[in-house]
């Protein structure tokens, strides 16, 4: 830790979860300079997770997604600017917006997030074909969903499955098409993936794996009518959600000559190649402390954790980013919670014999790497603390009769310090 000179002004590009949090944390830490938060979405910063959950179901108004009301930004002297940054000039230390206005920065934070990938097949531009990233997207999906009879979801990732669950609950027929042989393939173990396949099937959704979409077909009014698979099969559809992942928004950084490698490349302090520019959240590829591998994560925890680290650095506290990743997803009445990262694992231990409530402990060798909990919030919270503190736990411990994560944590940490 060492004190550094504070920049006189901070400009933040992107007012999503990470951008908002950078501004908020800077003020919390007493940063006195000018803060400009630039948003391409003409709205107050809001939360995205409800876009595929409560908001999509119509259970929440947009105001309920706001991270803070407008009075907050006024009170904290955070200048919210509506506009899209088109260019960074690192030499002059300015950003230029689409409307030509320019802002000088002492430090620049790129929190540009990601955009949904689209399908490179004929018909991808038909009406009724959607992606889901913004409140605007959710609003138009909400309207389409009310009238849709047959929905096809392309991609069985988190957004695809969360959307599929809401679509199914709203009463129509739903089919999920996935190229790989299981859902959530990059994110969870086979055991957890199987659970979600079963859950969606049980709720009446058709789950098709190992199938690729070849084309989308429409009628004379350009409304989508069917999804054609590579094997020739046609699935009738009046609503299609493309949930095939996202691309980090790196174009500004690239044009400014900053290194990009599957995300804006940053060091362990989240600095880009330019010491006056940081990148955080969904758009940033940062080194994992243990392996040094570049990692890009898409989660609230990651965006918030990154934002806080940058705010600390700008106010004088330097440290390497090493927060435990965690994530949640809600589908029907099931909550999945993940603590840690299990890119690599060779052993798994399942806790709980209820098929609808269990935790999967993923080990690499004798080391616990991640815990996936399905409807077992208590396990998740204990796992977060175990992994965060590096409390030892072997596969043998975990298979001892009567083992629970919470009791293990308590026995290793002392009851009062960890869990009451």
């Amino acid at each position: 830790m060492k004190a550094g000179a504070q920049p006189s002004s901070v400009v933040i590009v992107g007012a999503g979860q990470g951008g908002y949090q950078t501004a908020a944390s800077l003020r919390e830490l007493g940063y006195p300079g000018r803060i400009t938060l630039i948003s391409a979405e003409d709205a107050l910063p809001y939360e995205r997770p409800p876009l595929s959950k409560a908001y999509l179901k119509g259970q929440a108004d947009f105001e309920q997604l706001w991270l803070r009301p407008v009075t907050y930004y006024v009170r904290q002297s955070i200048d919210l600017v509506a506009g899209t940054v088109r260019e960074i000039d690192p030499a002059a230390r300015t950003v230029r917006l689409a409307d030509g206005s320019e802002y000088d920065y002492g430090h620049l934070v790129l929190a540009t997030g990601a955009r949904p990938r689209t399908l490179d097949v004929p018909g991808a531009g038909l009406r009724g074909v959607h992606t889901l990233r913004t409140a605007q997207d959710a609003l138009s999906l909400r309207a389409s969903l009310a009238a849709a009879r047959r929905t096809v979801v392309v991609g069985a990732g988190f957004i695809g499955l969360e959307f599929a669950a809401v679509a199914r609950e709203s009463g129509g027929e739903v089919t999920v098409v996935e190229t790989l042989d299981r859902p959530l393939a990059r994110a969870v173990s086979t055991r957890t993936a199987e659970h979600f396949t079963r859950l969606h099937r049980r709720m009446g959704t058709q789950m098709l794996f190992g199938r690729r979409v070849a084309a989308l077909h429409g009628n004379s009014r350009s409304d989508v009518t069917a999804v054609e698979l590579a094997d020739g099969r046609r699935l009738p559809a009046d609503l299609v959600l493309i949930g095939v992942g996202v691309t980090p928004r790196t174009e500004l950084a690239e044009a400014a000559g900053l290194p990009v490698n599957g995300g804006i490349t940053v060091d362990s302090r989240l600095l880009t190649g330019d010491p006056r520019i940081s990148a955080i959240g969904d758009c940033a590829a940062f080194p994992q402390v243990r392996s040094g591998n570049l990692l890009r994560l898409e989660s609230v925890q990651n965006a918030v954790g990154h934002a806080r680290l940058v705010a600390e650095r700008l106010t004088g506290v330097h440290s390497a980013y090493d927060e435990l990743p965690w994530f949640w997803s809600d589908q029907f009445s099931t909550t999945l919670q993940i603590a840690g990262l299990a890119e690599e694992h060779d052993t798994q231990v399942v806790l709980g014999d209820d098929p609808d409530a269990f935790s999967v402990l993923l080990f690499h060798g004798r080391e616990l790497r991640a815990v996936e909990s399905v409807n077992r919030p208590r396990d998740h919270m204990a796992a977060r603390r175990l992994l965060d503190r590096g409390v030892e736990l072997s596969p043998d411990d975990a298979t001892t009769p009567g083992f629970t994560l919470k009791a293990h944590l308590a026995s290793r940490q002392g009851v009062s310090a960890a869990v009451r």
Binding site: E63, W66, R68, V300, Q337, P377, R378, M381
Partner: protein, 107 residues
């Protein structure tokens, strides 16, 4: 609308009408009250919406469910017997007059 009073660490009080069906957390956020972070947006994932319910009004609440209870072990300010997660306190007419104290820290 039920009236809920939020007491800051420095003793400053604000009493607000909070709409039925929302939460004690939302009431604070929407009205720009400092001291509640609510990072997970009310999903019972983050424990950054921790409040201490005033002893005199604790009877207005049902006991915490398992999920909330588990998370309360992870608050940044110490857990006390009156600790609750404000996002899990749904505003009903029974909550009228509830007083909550904001903790020192949320994260």
């Amino acid at each position: 609308m039920p009236k809920i009073t939020y007491v800051a660490v420095d003793g400053t009080e604000r009493s607000l009408d909070v709409p039925l069906g929302t939460s004690v957390m939302r009431g604070a956020v929407v009205n720009d009250i400092d001291g509640i972070v609510a990072q997970c947006g009310g999903n019972a994932q983050c424990a950054t919406c921790h409040v201490y319910v005033d002893e005199t009004t604790i009877d207005k609440l049902d006991p915490a469910r398992q999920n909330e209870d588990d998370l309360l072990d992870f608050t940044a300010s110490p857990r006390r017997p009156t600790s609750r997660l404000s996002c899990q306190l749904e505003v009903t007419s029974a909550l009228d007059g509830l007083i909550v104290h904001l903790p020192e820290r949320q994260n």
